[in-house]
């Protein structure tokens, strides 16, 4: 489906920050990029979207870095999804169908209902998992 990895990267970043903040150090895009194994600019772009959504904040100047603005248990995957994804899951026709045809004029409202239900359900599911849950999952997996 040509899906992107934005949600995955953003979740990775926030989870990493949650784990790191316990050590008291400052999270920089360079250190995060080490864990994600990508370019620091990619991380900064991601963090920029998360900041626009109010999930993180940045301190500039020397000794700068990033900080979570909420408790990991208060950040759901839906928050992250909304911060980094925009469009709908399924697109309608690229160019409008023939509205003179019953199917052409009726298929879009009909699918609208289905698609809306799908998206509502997706949001409900993403809301059920928090960054703290991911952290717990990782720690639990490490132990057992």
């Amino acid at each position: 489906m040509s899906a992107n990895s934005r949600l995955t990267i953003a979740a990775h970043v926030l989870t990493w920050m949650s784990m790191d903040q316990q050590g008291g150090r400052v999270a920089t895009s360079d250190r995060i990029a080490e864990s994600v194994q990508t370019n620091p600019v990619v991380i900064r772009r991601c963090l920029g979207e998360l900041r626009a959504a109010g999930l993180v904040e940045a301190r500039r100047g020397a000794g700068a870095g990033w900080r979570l603005t909420r408790e990991p248990a208060d950040v759901t995957l839906l928050d992250v999804y909304r911060a980094v994804e925009d469009g709908p899951l399924f697109a309608m026709h690229a160019t409008p169908p023939n509205l003179g045809c019953p199917v052409g004029s009726g298929i879009r409202p009909a699918l609208d209902g289905v698609y809306a239900g799908v998206e509502a359900n997706l949001q409900k599911q993403l809301r059920a998992t928090t960054i703290a849950d991911l952290l717990d999952d990782i720690n639990g997996r490490k132990m057992g």
Copy 2:
């Protein structure tokens, strides 16, 4: 999200064929393209995928065209989705994360669980709507 319109187009095509077959005529890519308002080749590509999934069949030669192989009430949107979409909804990292980091090694299994649940739920929802339902929706909307 850069979503594509494949599911929409395929649903449009099948719904159009369901409505058309009541008239007894043969469905051709040209006539379908009129309703979708796109190039007939786009329709043939779509129908080719639907044929590979066993949802339609083609007759070649003179007076050729396409036919549904199942009753519209027996074709769910999940069948259509599977016929025209391939990859997962959410992708993992484009390049693997640092497995030496606890988060890098644990985030993928953790997200795997979430993503699997999301996809299972998506399938459940798509299975709940059939081409016949779309047709009914369109006819009902036309009336009321």
